[in-house]
Structure formats: structure tokens, C-alpha cells
């Protein structure tokens, strides 16, 4: 086992808040920076099952959900404290720090934030 990682010092909520993200998305759509943030380790796989907001699917969308909520759910899955079909098996593959980074990225829109930067 690798040594335990230092505690994550990044704030849970994205510092600019959710309203600010839509503003950034709007800036991107009108010719702002073309490059989107690269997903943290493991996060790119989430959208294999979790679709965009409002897709009405059985699997809940995660894009834009509060980071605290996603962290809490993943921690519970990780600890086997929350009923699941596959998320318990998947969450066990991630460290606390990785879970936080994934949650923050998803809270900021994840792949969907990148979608909205399309011209």
C-alpha cells in the first residue's frame, strides 16, 4: 500500500460557485479559452452511466450536483453503508482525495461543462 495521502486542502465547494460556472460556460461559448479542464483520475468514466441533467434516465445525473452530496454518497458506497448495485464495488477503488477531486469536477459540470463550451 502507498503511504496515506495528505488531507485534501481544497474547499469542497467550487470557489466560484455554481452561478459563476454558468457565466464561464457562457464566456466559453462566445470565444473564451478553447481548452476544457482535464478530468481528475477516474472521473471520465462516470459519464458511461450518469447522463446529462434532465435526461430522465434511471441513473441520476451528477453534473452540477453539490460536491458535498457526491462526496457523501461515494464515501458511503466506499464504506458499504449505502445500498447499491455496482457503485459500492466501484467506489472502493478510489481514495478519499480522489473522491473529493471527482466530486468537485462533477459539481462544476464535469463533461457537461465541457459540452457547453461547444460553439
Amino acid at each position: 500500500m502507498p503511504p496515506a495521502a495528505p488531507p485534501c486542502r481544497r474547499p469542497l465547494r467550487h470557489p466560484i460557485g455554481r452561478g459563476g460556472l454558468w457565466l464561464i460556460a457562457a464566456v466559453l461559448a462566445f470565444g473564451g479559452p478553447a481548452a476544457a479542464e482535464i478530468a481528475p483520475s477516474g472521473a471520465a468514466s462516470c459519464s458511461g452511466c450518469h447522463g446529462p441533467p434532465g435526461d430522465g434516465g434511471l441513473v441520476p445525473s451528477l453534473a452540477g450536483r453539490p460536491a458535498e452530496e457526491i462526496v457523501a454518497a461515494l464515501m458511503q458506497f466506499n464504506a458499504g453503508e449505502r445500498a447499491a448495485t455496482v457503485m459500492d464495488r466501484i467506489a472502493k477503488g478510489f481514495t478519499d482525495d480522489e473522491i473529493r477531486a471527482i466530486a468537485e469536477w462533477l459539481a462544476g459540470g464535469g463533461d457537461q461543462a465541457a459540452h457547453s463550451s461547444q460553439p
Binding site: 482535464i38 478530468a39 483520475s41 468514466s45 450518469h50 447522463g51 435526461d55 466501484i90 472502493k92 460553439p119
Partner: protein, 412 residues
């Protein structure tokens, strides 16, 4: 120039003086199409070209339900308009040569495409040289249906026209091959079809392995749902098919000759032919890659993702292909900006239907280790053995939801 031979002018006029990097993606399945989209999401200024000869993609996941008459093939088909809408240039041609030194792809009509980085997602080629007697003509009489499309419908038709009391024989290859649990899902759904419509019939599964994916769950379900109808013959008990005789629909093993009314021969496989042509496939027929960037171990500047890649512990699945596509896209976008690639974890989840309302799954988390993608210990695994029917029904619904989400994300 970024595109040679007038290709740019023919397929998509580009602004004068545009200096965007060009990434070419060969293959428009889950891996290639997802990677093209991810590249465009990561950097909309990237010129992304997808080379794929088929106008429509026909998905393999859920195609076993088509064989069993539970679903129509139309629901498996997806076009490339969604990719075009986000600015991906889609070239409806087959890639025929790749010059890794010149960084140039040539397609069937002779047009060439220069690239800074090439992503190859050529999927699989069925080895019609592996089982004596199983050639192209034999594949019509004894369909493989391991690439979804006309083969899927041939097998469905043959099952539908078989008399009650007939014998269906399946042949399953040794690993590695596309979709490890796929043959057993197919066996389950064929058994469901026979139980429902032709209950005096029998299904024999001849396997070149002694163990398979989700085995305990499959075998328990077979015992519960299809007792006496489905017989699995392992390698040790003579399951390896050594020859086929399509003229009298016979599968030959070292121990017996199995006469069939319907035969489904899933032959051994290798990476799609263009992989060998590009020099990215090794003597195994598959493509060794770096587990962080998916760059070929054999040809710099070419990345290989999806079923064609040797991805260590990661199975050849659509979910894995999509995960790899997005990680590879991030690596490629970063490399083009001169950034050092970052190691990423990847996830796989594979659902199988044992019956229409009976789903089981296997999940895994993977990370680069010792030059390969290894399973993260303590994570992953299969559905619980003792789950109630409601759990199985829920997983069947999740399987469908997954298919809807991934196909919408990749092709929608």
C-alpha cells in the same frame, strides 16, 4: 499543411491560415467515436477527423436480445450526425494504410490525411483462419454474430425457423476476445428463447476455456431458469472445437462430433486489420499500449484504444472502450499542448442479461501498474450471489439505462 491531397478541401473546407492541430481517429465504434467527441470537448480548436466506412454504427451490447427476438436491430443502430454537429469531420471511407513515419493515413479512395496524433480504434477482426473449416462461406451457414448486423439477423432467423426439439450448438473461443461474458449472455438468452418458444430443444455450449466471466452467477441462473435445456461443456470436458463441417452442420472436438440444427461459432479474434497494416499489432494480433497515454508501444504518435488494445486486466467491453477513449483523449490533448501525461484510473462495468428481467454485472477499477492496466485491489467484482429477484430485475433495468446513456453520449 495539415491535410494533404486535397482532402481538406473535399471533406471540409477549412479557414485559411488555421493552425489547429489535427488528430485523426480511425474507427467509429464506441472507442473511436467517444474519443473524437472527447477531443473536441477538451479543445474545440482541435481539428478532429473520424475515418469510418460505415454510415451507421451497429452496437454489439444488447444484440444478444435481438438474436433472442426480444428487440429489433433498429434499436442497435446509430449514425454520426451528432459527431458532425460538434465539428468533427467524418470521412465515410475505410482507412487502408497508415504511414507512422510520415504521420499519414490513406483511405480507400486514395485520399490522404496527415495527423499530429493518430488514435486507432479498429475493433476486432474475426479470425477465419483459426478453426479448420470455418471460413467466410461457413460463417453464413454457422454465423458468428460477433459483429452486430446481418450476422445477428442470420442467427435470429435460423433460430426462428428451427423446429421444436432441435439442437443449437455454440462454440466459444479462448481469451482474449471481445466481450468476455457475451457468449454466456447469448447462451442464456437463446435458452430463454428456446424455453419460451421451443421447449423440447437443447443448447450445447462448447467452450475452449474452463472458467469464464461471472461464471458462478451464470451457472446458478442457468440451473434456476433453464434446467436440462442448456449444457456447458468446458475445455477439460472436451469443449474445444477443433474443426467445423458446415455442409452437415457439425462441430468437431477431440472427444465428439456435435451435429446441430443451428450453430453459432464465435471464432478467435485479433485487432482490426488496419492495426497490423499500421504496425501497431504484435505477434498476438493485439496492440500493446502505454497504460497512461494509450500510445502504441510499437509506433510513436499512434494511440490504440478499445477492443484492439492490450489493456491488461481491462476487458474488451464498450464501457471500457468509452473510459479508455476519454482518458486517451485527455492524454492526446495534453501532449499536443506539451504537457506531461497524468496517470488515470479507469472504470469498467459490464451488464449481462440472463433473462429479460434478470441482470448481472461485473465492475472493475483499473490503474497503470508495471506497464499495464491492473485491477485496483479491493474494488470491483460481480453482483452478489445471494441477491433477491428484485436486485436482478434492477440490474436488468440498469443495463438498459447504461446502453441508453452511453449511446446518447457517444452518438447522440
Amino acid at each position: 499543411m495539415l491535410a494533404a491531397g486535397g482532402a481538406a478541401a473535399f471533406y471540409a473546407p477549412r479557414a485559411l491560415g488555421q493552425q489547429a492541430a489535427r488528430v485523426v481517429v480511425v474507427g467509429g465504434g464506441f472507442a473511436g467515436a467517444s474519443c473524437a467527441r472527447a477531443l473536441k470537448r477538451l479543445n474545440r480548436d482541435l481539428a478532429v477527423t473520424l475515418i469510418e466506412p460505415s454510415e451507421r454504427f451497429i452496437a454489439c451490447p444488447f444484440s444478444n436480445t435481438v438474436i433472442a427476438g426480444l428487440r429489433d436491430l433498429e434499436g442497435q443502430q446509430f449514425g454520426y450526425d451528432g459527431l458532425k454537429r460538434v465539428g468533427i469531420e467524418v470521412v465515410p471511407q475505410a482507412a487502408v494504410t497508415v504511414d507512422a513515419h510520415a504521420r499519414r493515413v490513406t483511405v480507400a479512395d486514395g485520399t490522404t490525411f496527415d495527423y499530429e496524433r493518430l488514435v486507432m480504434a479498429p475493433g476486432i477482426e474475426l479470425r477465419l483462419d483459426a478453426i479448420p473449416g470455418y471460413d467466410e462461406a461457413a460463417a453464413e451457414a454457422m454465423p458468428h454474430a460477433w459483429k452486430a448486423g446481418t450476422q445477428t439477423l442470420t442467427l435470429r432467423r435460423q433460430l426462428a425457423s428451427m423446429e421444436d426439439g432441435g439442437v443449437v450448438v455454440m462454440s466459444v473461443p479462448a481469451s482474449p476476445y471481445r466481450c468476455p461474458p457475451g457468449p454466456y449472455e447469448r447462451a442464456s438468452l437463446i435458452a430463454h428463447y428456446l424455453k419460451t418458444h421451443k421447449p423440447r430443444s437443447k443448447l450445447i455450449v462448447l467452450d475452449a476455456k474452463d472458467r469464464f466471466s461471472k461464471q458462478g452467477l451464470f451457472e446458478a441462473a442457468w440451473q434456476a431458469l433453464y434446467p436440462g435445456l442448456l449444457e456447458w461443456v468446458s475445455l477439460s470436458f472436451g469443449g474445444q472445437v477443433t474443426a467445423v463441417e458446415p455442409a452437415d452442420m457439425t462441430l468437431v472436438t477431440d472427444f465428439a462430433r456435435h451435429r446441430s440444427d443451428v450453430a453459432n461459432v464465435i471464432p478467435p479474434q485479433r485487432a482490426g486489420a488496419i492495426a497490423a497494416a499500421a504496425g501497431v499489432a504484435d505477434q498476438t494480433g493485439w496492440c500493446p499500449i502505454d497504460p497512461v497515454t494509450f500510445e502504441s508501444r510499437l509506433q510513436p504518435g499512434i494511440h490504440v484504444i478499445g477492443d484492439a488494445a492490450i489493456a491488461g486486466a481491462m476487458p474488451k467491453s464498450a464501457f471500457a472502450a468509452d473510459s479508455q477513449a476519454k482518458v486517451c483523449a485527455a492524454a492526446v490533448a495534453g501532449l499536443l499542448r506539451g504537457e506531461a501525461p497524468r496517470a488515470q484510473k479507469l472504470v469498467n462495468t459490464c451488464y449481462s442479461l440472463v433473462g429479460p428481467d434478470y441482470g448481472i454485472s461485473v465492475a472493475g477499477v483499473y490503474h497503470p501498474r508495471d506497464g499495464l492496466l491492473a485491477e485496483v485491489e479491493g474494488a470491483g467484482g460481480v453482483s452478489p450471489a445471494d441477491a433477491p429477484p428484485s436486485f436482478r430485475a434492477e440490474e436488468a433495468r440498469y443495463a438498459e439505462a447504461w446502453f441508453h446513456t452511453i449511446t446518447s453520449a457517444v452518438f447522440g
